[in-house]
Subunit: 157 residues, 2 copies
DNA sequence: AGCACATCATTAGTGCGCCAAACGATTCGT
DNA sequence: ACGAATCGTTTGGCGCACTAATGATGTGCT
């Protein structure tokens, strides 16, 4: 956006404010990630992998919130870079078991570092209390809206 | 996102919180708009048009923050629906002068109504003070980050 | 044992918002 | 008059979220 005039009517709407700040955040994080040749999905997948250990693509999708359709490409990209390994599951031939390589773990460390830096850059103009406040408010919103659309299924009967 | 497990490490990061809530907001607003056959760019263009009156596509792009490349399609779509008119500028044959039709104005009213409803749905779990607080915090962030990239040009000398 | 059904991986394609490169046509500045 | 800037347009790309369809495989029920 290379606006020059920008005085508009929707400028004060929460949804707009949210979208714009999220945009900045997204750009910040995206740039951080791309500076080491990655993008959001890569981080999410690597982090999920480290947190839960090797798993099938479907399971990883559920845990990371990455759509199954996008998992394929994401795993491909990470596997191409040697950050992740795809091996057939001997006990279920439908599955691939994805696991983190040591290079992947190293990459994850880099991404986490960038990510932390970005948080700081993002919140730069806010005091610690304000940051706290913002996080709380956003969490509240998120919890509410996730309840309505996020995990509606009751655990298997 | 049809997550079922979703307990992750990045879940508390401001950039993530921001992105997710913005996502919900975006979906809410997008659904509201699409229920009357429109999308974000349509609203932005119509609103800009009403606020500043007829103008060339380039000027509208500057004011609405819509990229020139996307203006073309946006104007086409609105013109196809008869919400906007594209007429050559007699005094500058490079330009098209875009103007709002009365049908366009009516559509804008509808969109504004939806938009207002969405704000309420979005902020539902927040008290009036919290809404205020959130708006302030987001504005602060936005102002900061726009200062670095958004509207740097000083008004014509 | 057989069959319906669910799950897994994959491919292909949609939508929105943002952006960049290149082009011809026109107009402006000097 | 001529180079530079502006305008409209087309084409294409990225990131993220999502839908639909398909074939291979696995599970549960009867």
């Amino acid at each position: 956006m290379e606006t020059e005039e920008t005085p508009a009517r929707w400028e004060g709407l929460p949804s707009w404010l949210l979208g714009q700040t999220a945009n900045h955040a997204h750009r910040l994080v995206g740039d951080g990630f791309s500076s080491v040749g990655a993008r959001g999905y890569h981080y999410r997948l690597l982090a999920t992998l480290e947190e839960y250990g090797p798993a099938s693509q479907a399971a990883l999708g559920r845990r990371s919130g990455i759509h199954l359709s996008d998992m394929v490409a994401t795993v491909n990209e990470l596997a191409d870079r040697g950050l992740v390994e795809r091996a057939p599951d001997p006990s279920d031939r439908r599955r691939n078991i994805i696991s983190l390589t040591s290079a992947g773990k190293r990459q994850l460390r880099r991404l986490e570092k960038r990510l932390a830096e970005c948080q700081d850059e993002l919140l730069a103009p806010l005091s610690p209390e304000e940051r706290q406040r913002l996080t709380e408010l956003l969490s509240k919103l998120l919890t509410h809206h996730n309840g309505r659309t996020g995990t509606p299924e009751e655990p298997w009967s």
